[in-house]
Each structure stands twice: as structure tokens, then as C-alpha cells.
Assembly symmetry: D2
Homo-oligomer: 343 residues x 4
């Protein structure tokens, strides 16, 4: 795909380089020698900072290079051979990871979503069906915060999911590729600490929030920490130079950079949404985080296509489709103005 003529890429929040402070941190630490495989000082420091943010000094923290790898490592760690994971059918592990979880031997149950979110009712209904020992045994609830369509689980909703999970002896795993955007999202009512109190295990995404690459796996549940590094090693997730990832997380969490990046991306999304609304267009789903799904007539989409990078998301009728726009920590107001001017 030739992107040279685009005015701006709204494809993804990982279309950008890294936040300048991230690069500076790598530069500043570059002359230090460190131990490999996550036994370096930066990994220790980043773990401490994340433990503080979530208010749990006993949580284990590990750094990996990609979100799919985080999902693979965590889910295959949690599951016995005959156990399975519950997700919405639009869930990342169910659609966009080329069968990564099944490749580790486990079924992904595809449940219907409401506004992109898994519901306690859907879990309940599944558990009522999966009662026979000839069936796979659900053991983990997988959700994304924020979701694939940018929606956010409210505190109440997440508590309800956690409650139904505990009642059914299920672990709760949260894919936090955009967890920063979620906690800083519009009307968001919970922070990382509150999420960490409900989840057995989750990850904090760096790739989509200004990092060079990398995610931080967090394990609040003390019973799910043994041999985790060995398991990471096996999946190719234990990096010789873990410092390259953990230095980024030191920078993210030594002050509020992680949250500031997400807030900025969300604000740009609101700005873009307001402009689009003002021009009379509607959205597939409310804009709460940094993903927008405006509905345009096909003619408008055709006009936008050579100018901006974005994905066509869903055909609504013969004349209208929703597209996906993603803002980031780096999206400039000028790009938004250009987009709005092109409508």
C-alpha cells in the first residue's frame, strides 16, 4: 500500500514512532550494562512502578514484545489441556490472531457482544450449556478494555463480569492493548488499581500508547505466578534485552506519561468526533476512547480514501458504510482540521 500521498494515517495508534521521552530514555540508559532476560534494573524499576500504580506490591510484572504474545503466554499458562476461554465473537483472540490460542490447544468460545462487550448473561448462559464432561471446560473469561470498537466496561459492568467469573470458578483475563485509553476514556469510572483488583491477570499495552513496542503483563493473583518466566521462555516471549521494553515502562509510569498519552489521544478523538457530528454525520457507536466509527455516504468515503489512511469497517446499506478512524498520542489538530475540511 502506497501511503506517500496520504495527508494523515488514521489507520492505527501504532502508525507512529515512539513518544520522544521513550527514545530519550533509551538514549540515556544506553551505556549501561545490564543482565539479560528481565533480570535487569529497569525491569525491576518498571515492575515497582506498576505495582505502585495498581497498589499491589505482590503482583508479578513481566514485559513482552507484542499483545498477541501476551495473550498466548497468559492464556496457555492459565489453562489445563481440556479447558477453554470465553470471549466475544469480535474478540481479538477470536478473529485477528490467526488461531493463536487454538494453536496452544484451547477452544475459544465465541459469545455475542452488547456494544462490543461481553455480558454476565452470556457467560451464564454458556456455563449452563457446558455442563457435560464430554464438553470442554470453560476456565478463563477474556475481555478487552477498551474493546475492539472502542467501548469501555464501566466499573459496575466489570464487577459484574468478575462476580460471574468467580461464581463459576473462572479466571478473569483482561487484554489491555488500549487500557490507558479505557481508564482515561469519556465517562470512564475506574482506574488501573480498580481493574487490577478485579482481574486475575491482565496486560498494559505500550505499543498503542506511544511505546516503540512492548506490553506489561500484570498478575495480581498470587496463585498464578509460579514458573511464569519459564512459560514465557517457552513461547519465545522472554526477551534477552527485556530492558528495551522495560525502560519504556519506567518512562510511562515514573510520572503520568502513560495516562497523558492516552488522554491526548482520547481528546483528539473527541475533537474529531465533534467536527464530524457538526457536519451532520452519525456514529456506529459512541466515541469514548481513541477509536471512532463514523457513518458516511459511499461518495464521501470515496473522496476521503485517497487523502487519509483508514479502514472501511462495516457496510450498513447500499449507500452508507462505517469507517474506522484511530487517533493517537501524536495526532495533531492540523490532521483533524484537514480531515474535517475534506468532508
Amino acid at each position: 500500500m502506497n501511503t506517500a500521498n496520504y495527508q494523515y494515517l488514521f489507520f492505527n495508534d501504532y502508525s507512529e514512532g515512539a513518544h520522544p521521552r521513550i527514545l530519550a530514555a533509551l538514549q540515556n540508559s544506553n551505556d549501561m550494562q545490564e543482565l539479560g532476560y528481565g533480570e535487569d534494573d529497569f525491569t525491576l524499576q518498571a515492575s515497582d512502578l506498576i505495582q505502585q500504580v495498581i497498589g499491589n506490591q505482590a503482583a508479578a510484572v513481566h514485559f513482552v514484545s507484542s499483545g498477541t504474545l501476551a495473550n498466548i503466554v497468559c492464556l496457555s499458562y492459565l489453562l489445563k489441556p481440556y479447558e477453554s476461554v470465553i470471549a466475544v465473537s469480535s474478540g481479538h483472540i477470536n478473529v485477528y490472531e490467526a488461531g493463536a490460542i487454538e494453536a496452544t490447544g484451547h477452544k475459544v468460545h465465541e459469545l455475542s457482544a452488547v456494544d462490543g462487550k461481553l455480558t454476565p448473561d452470556a457467560i451464564h448462559e454458556l456455563m449452563n450449556r457446558m455442563t457435560d464432561e464430554h464438553m470442554v471446560k470453560p476456565k478463563v473469561v477474556y475481555i478487552s478494555q477498551s474493546t475492539e470498537i472502542g467501548s469501555i466496561y464501566t466499573k459496575k459492568e466489570l464487577e459484574n463480569i468478575a462476580t460471574v467469573a468467580r461464581k463459576n470458578n473462572l479466571y478473569l483475563y483482561i487484554d489491555g492493548a488500549r487500557i490507558g485509553h479505557a481508564v482515561m476514556g469519556k465517562n470512564a469510572d475506574m482506574n488501573l488499581q480498580q481493574i487490577a483488583e478485579l482481574a486475575d491477570i491482565f496486560y498494559i499495552g505500550g505499543t498503542k500508547n506511544g511505546g516503540l513496542m512492548g506490553e506489561a503483563i500484570v498478575i495480581p493473583n498470587p496463585n498464578l505466578q509460579a514458573e511464569f518466566r519459564r512459560h514465557m521462555r517457552q513461547k519465545g516471549a522472554l526477551l534477552a534485552k527485556t530492558r528495551t521494553v522495560s525502560i519504556q515502562f519506567v518512562e510511562f509510569f515514573k510520572d503520568d506519561l502513560y495516562f497523558a498519552n492516552a488522554t491526548f489521544a482520547n481528546q483528539m478523538a473527541q475533537l474529531l468526533a465533534a467536527g464530524i457530528s457538526q457536519k451532520g454525520y452519525r456514529f456506529l457507536t459512541p466515541v469514548l476512547t481513541n477509536q471512532l466509527f463514523p457513518i458516511f455516504p459511499n461518495a464521501i468515503i470515496a473522496k476521503l480514501k485517497p487523502l487519509f489512511g483508514f479502514y472501511e469497517w462495516q457496510k450498513l446499506d447500499n449507500e452508507h458504510s462505517a469507517i474506522r478512524l484511530v487517533t493517537s498520542w501524536k495526532t495533531q489538530k492540523s490532521a483533524i482540521d484537514q480531515f474535517l475540511a475534506s468532508l
Copy 2:
């Protein structure tokens, strides 16, 4: 492990940060927007450069974050469920990857090494034994260039391995975590192009030769390229920000940085080896690349231990052991002088 009081870490070639040009390249490209998942311009450019280096425009090139991930992705791609891989018992996949290959469903045959290297005779002998359909079917020969003990396959040796592989309908896969050190090693008689002509698939290591992290998988064999990206995706190896790795390989190969780094590390190893020899100590195995295995009396090792970072490798008798020292693209002469002065 508290490393604060060490004068220098000889633990590993990944104890360092990145070569300054690598960081500069990231800095210089930081404001560009790029497509994700390896469809960016830098990945294209790095692939082109590597294709030129190996003299094969039809080779596929892919970038991943770790060597174990490269091994996982490549070997599980090559093997049918009932097929297996041949390695020496000291091979990285057989010892240090926590069963990564078996976790993808495949047996690793452990053969005896000669000077750290697999021999055609050992392959031949195995193939003569594995003739029964009740047995797993060997399909890939795995070797490391340079090996786990720093030795190098000569051109003749690699040709002989490739010949026995072809005769037995086996693929040849080369783990190139330290392939730069191998081609620039003492008495080395083959370059990357010659290696690429013999291997069906191999990887060029960045992590151990001055990169921030990352390796380049190269697939000269045109029959082994289809759906490789999908397979990488499944194993968590397709990075959203592949640019972070591929930019490094642009820098490595746009001139001779990759080879210069390895040459420097090898030279420092020779300097260190010469000094150790001069003091009357011998080595477990000849020093050809950037790994040294000097044999010291236990008293000397005890004296060195609080001063330098290194691994004790092998107990030889009640009074002597071999230790492992690794030099890198960044090892300073001063560190070597300090080490020699401490003997």
C-alpha cells in the same frame, strides 16, 4: 544478582544497550507514520538490503523480536505433525528454550556434537535408525552458526551438512543468533551469501550484535514462503510496529555496520584470548568468535568473581574449571586490560 560492583560484565553480548547508529536511526525516523505489521517502508528497505547481501532477490525476509521466536516460527512452519528436527544435544533449542519446539508438537533429536558442531555422520547414523513408520520422521536439520561454544562451521563442513540433508530430504535451518560473529570469525571461509545458498531458511541475529532487539528471518527456499506471515501472526511474532526492528536492520545493512560490529567483538575476543594465553592459561576450545572458554584454577575464578560478570561453564577437575567470557561490539580495551590485570 547485584552487578553494581562489577568492573565489567562479560556475561553476554546482549548486556549492552544498542549501537549509537541504531538509536539515531530510530530517532531520525520517529516522526514518520508507517503501516503496521511489517508493511512499512523500513521493512521493505531492510528486506531489499538483506536480499542484496545474500544475492537472492527472491528470498523472503521477516523481522521478529527474539531468536527463540524465530526458531519457533520457522521450525513449526517447516514440520508436519509427525516430523521432527535434528540438533546437537547442546543446541539452543534442545537446552535453553524451555521445550519451545516440543511445545509446537515436535521432537528434537539430540545428537552428539564434535567441537560443538553437528556432523554428517551423526545425521547419517540417525537416519539409518529412523526407518520405521512407528517412529517420528526427521525433516529438519537445525544448526547454529556460530555454535553454542563459539565454533564455526567451515564452508566445507556446511556443504557436507547440506549435502546429507538434501540426500535425506531434510531441510537445513540455521540459527544465526551470532551469524555475524561466524562470518567474520577467525579463519572463517564463508559469507552470508554462501550460507544463504546452502540453507533453506535461517535468521540473522540483531540482539547479540548491537541491536535494541530483533532478528531477521531469511527464507531463500521459494517453496517455504507461502503463508509465512500468517504463521508468524499465530505465534505472536508479527509485530504491530515491525518498523522498530526493521529500522535497525536497515542501519545494519545499509553499509557494513553489521559486519563491523561482529568484527570488533571478535577482535576484542582475540585480544582477551592472547592476554590469557600469555599468562599461561589454556582454553576449552579455540577462540574463533566472541565467546571464550578459558580454563582457570578455582582460586583464580574465586578472585575474578566479585570483579567481573561471567558464567562458570564446566568443571574440569577438582581444581580447575572453564568459565565463559563474551565480548561484544562495545567491549572496551580497558575492560580487557582490567580483566587481564586481575588474573
Copy 3:
């Protein structure tokens, strides 16, 4: 479950022992010495007979001990790591095999069924969605003939499935646990030969049609036969005493015993269905093979429950449910009379 007081078990067609001729055949062959692992004369003979029945001397035939094992062996043989299998959500591999296919590393796509059957439209719609290399790649269509609810693919329907499969480069695999009941079913319009001409691979079920245990895997597609025995060996499916299964298939196919057994079971189902209809009850789905799903008021079900073995299948409203009754090669008219008398 205490079944001692039941007048008859309609639970399953495998509630019975074996057809007397099967036992006699085992008895008659008992003093012969044979080679192990499917290299015996009976395996050869049974293969020949099945090749004749399907009119394809080049088909490979293998004998295994269970249907789930047949599914595991066949599907994992057909699929590359990143490939998946398409089934209806009620498909046996998707519900009742405890994640057996996922345990071999592969996703099962769950499509909606029409009358228990997969439709070309559903396959077509899935293939239109699965176009991204970040997604798993569908490679096999899995159907059951007859289906989980006793319905039968007509010749036209199966041809259409085969056509859409071929167009999309998908293999067609048929789970034939009750394939005898299908080809001898009410209004059935195709025989085993015609099925074998459309399927790439399928199995002929013995367990549910009068055998002691065991199924015959048949591979008409000549490109899918290499190393199949080695693959069976790995999955624990290659039996040392394969003769125990293959002798049964000699008996099934040396005349028409296999078809006679299925025909009898189907006839008993029709007799039972006629009686139930006569009493004014309806069925969830037409009775075509040996599974019946009559709809009864809850009071009737409560009355039947201590008298007969059967599964409650589906709650229809607060006062009615469908139950499942299965007849077999051995079901006696007296059992049917007793059941009807109890309504």
C-alpha cells in the same frame, strides 16, 4: 445412573452388544496368528471390501477404535498449523469432543445449521469474512452424515457443499458415525460410492451400527494418503490388534450386513415415529434415520422417565420438551410397543 428398572434404553445405538455375526467372526478367526498394527490379512480383506463398495481401488482404508479418534487423526492430518475447520455449531467436534480438534492446534468455526446441516451459503459467507492474513485460514469442511439430529444431506446438497469446498480450496471431510443410517435413510438418494466421490476423506462408523467398537477411515483423495499410518501411530490410533476392528468390517461388508443393520434401525425408528404420531404428538424434526425427537408435555416425560432410558433434548416452552430416542440394529418391536403403551 441405575438402569436396572428400565424397560428399554433408547439412549443410544451403542447401548447394545455386538451383532451376533460380529462375535462369530471373532470366534472363527481367533486361532489365527496375524501381524500387528494393521498389517494383518483381515485388514487387507476389509480394505478390499470397502474399496469395492465405494468403487475406488485407490482409496486408502484404515481402522481405528473410536469416532473422536477418527476425527482427531483425519483433521490434524489435513491441516497446516494456521489452518482451521468449518463445522455447524451443533457439530460433534464442536460440542461433544472436549476440544479434541483445538487440542491439536486448530480452530473450529461454528456456523449456523439449517435442519442440522451446513449450507453452502454459510461456508460462502465465512470465506468472504476470512480474507485477512491476520485470521486463521479455513481449510476443511466438516459435516456429519447423518447429522447430530438425524437429518440427511441429499445428493444435491452434498454436491453443493463439495462444489463450494472445491471452489474455495477446502477439503471435504465427512463424519460417518451413522453413515449407514444415512444412506439407508428415509428418502435417502445417495450411496457410499457417491459419498466417496465427493469426500476427500470420511469414516464409516462401526460402533453405532452393530460393531463391538471401531470405525473405518476411508481416503479417496490420493494426495492425502502419505504417512497416514505414521500420523495414526502418533495419535494412539494405530492398534496393535487392528484385526479386532478389521474383522468386524469384513463381516459388515462381505455381504450387506452393514446396510441391513442400518435399515433395521431406521425401520424401527419409523415404526416408533408412526406410533407416536398416531397418538397425536409432533416431532422437532422429521424422522429420517434412527434418531427421533418427539415433543411431549412435561407430564408425559415425567411418566416415561422411570420406564425408559432417553435424553431430554430441548425445552420448547414451559410445558413441552423434545426428547431424543435412538433405535438400533437390535431394537425389538416389543420395546417399541412398550414405549407406545406408556404414552
Copy 4:
């Protein structure tokens, strides 16, 4: 292989049909209706009988169709993803099961055997090496009783293995394909109860001791019983007509048939061994169970080859090889006389 002209097959103890009482038991139970999937009365009865034999009413007992399937089901049940199993290099799982254990994701460590047997020293040495979290973690000791070469672990030897296993937090799994021949073997000093007191899990082989097919998995360790049936289901090992296997084990253990069969096979082996010795030939290893490995000049082997079925086992020098002869519950004295007469 055309076996028609052989006077007798000494290939294997599964070359025969079934013991007449086994067939009679199937015949006698044939008209009973039973529940499927191991919930039948015969499975209950066989479990009870085996619990009595081993003196442990809390042991779980399950029936499967093959030894490889027993190994797959048990070992994959015991192991976490990053754990491995220890065996001798000649172990069945390491050689003759086409990578079955690795296919479930787990490494098999190949240790040197002494007289076909694993030693505590070898386990100890391995555990001393496997101390790094970058390595796979050994968790199960796999041994065969009797071994692949017919030798028997003495009570003392097995206790020592169990002790080293417990000290290292390893489970002890015993492949009992020929466990009857072991406990009834020459100089044998332990019975099934004593074995069951040391093993965490083992299986009692039926296939090689007069059954039609099938093995009984026994789990004395109460912590290793949960969800075992579900796990069997997933591996294709839970048979719809489990009765077909369990009826055989009722017959085996309702009196001493199981032990009588093994004793007979062992006696025939002693008879054959005595005759061979008397003619001046030696053996590769002492004859303790029903496998014999006599050493013959090549000329003798060439002469025997058209007359009897057996495997050539090992070339000793240019003029001598060892062959393998296996006797069974059915081997007649006349066959032995014929063999001896042919020497």
C-alpha cells in the same frame, strides 16, 4: 509380509486372537443394554476388581483401547506446558510412538539405561543439570515394567526410583503393557499392589496378555483423578462402548486369568530359553519374562527366517546377531519344539 508359510510367529504377544474366556465373556454379556462411555456396569465391576487387586479402593480406573493412547492421555494429563518427562532412550514413548508425547507439547528426556532400566543415578544427574528456568522442567518419570528388553525392575530398584522421584517432586508413571509378565517373571519380587503403592499412575496391559485389545489405566494418587474422563474424551480415548474393553478386564481379574496368562507366556519363554541354551547359544540379556534375545550366527538366522516370524534385534559382529522372540499366553509347546528342532 506373507506369513502363510511360517510354522509359528514369535513376532509378538499380540499376534494371537483373544483368550477363549474373553470371547465367552463378550458372548455372555452381549444381550445386555449398557450405558456408554464407561458408565456401564462392567466398567464398574472391572474397576472394583482392580481396586481389590491393588488394595486401594480410592484408586481411579479407566479403560482405553491402546497403550500409546494410555501414555498420551496420562502423560499429557500430568504435565503443565513447560514440563517434561524422563525416560530411557530405548523407552517406548521415545522411539516407537512417532512423537506422540511431543505432539502433546512435551519434551521426552532420553537417559541411558542399564539392562533396559532407568536408574536413580541417571535421574539424579539429569535433575542436577536441569536447574535453569530457561530449561524445560522435568515432572514425570516414565518407566516400563517389564522393559523393552524384557528385564524387570526389582522391588528395591522400583523403590529407589520412587524415592528419587519423590525427592525431586516428580510423578512416577509406569507403562504396564507387559506388567503381568513382570510381576509373574523369573525372580520377580513384587506384585501389582506393591507397584500401585509406588506409582502415581500406571496402566495394566490387556492387549499383550490375551485380550482382544485394551488397557486399564490405574490412578492410585488421589490428586490426579479430577477431570480425567474429560481429558480422555479429548484425546479420543473415551470409548462409547467401553464395555468391550472392561468386560475383558472383569474376566482377567475375577480370578487369576490375567496372572495365569502371563505365567504361561513366561514359562514358555523359559522352556524356549532352556532349549536354546542347551544347544550352546547365549542371550543378549537374561530371560526373565516373555521376551528372549538369543544370539545366533547369521547362518542360523538365515535358516530360521523362512520358518518362523521374529525380528532381528541387534547386529553384534559381522557373524552374529541377536533376534527377538516373544512367547504368549497361547504359545504351544509344539511351536517351541519346532523352533528348537530348526536350530
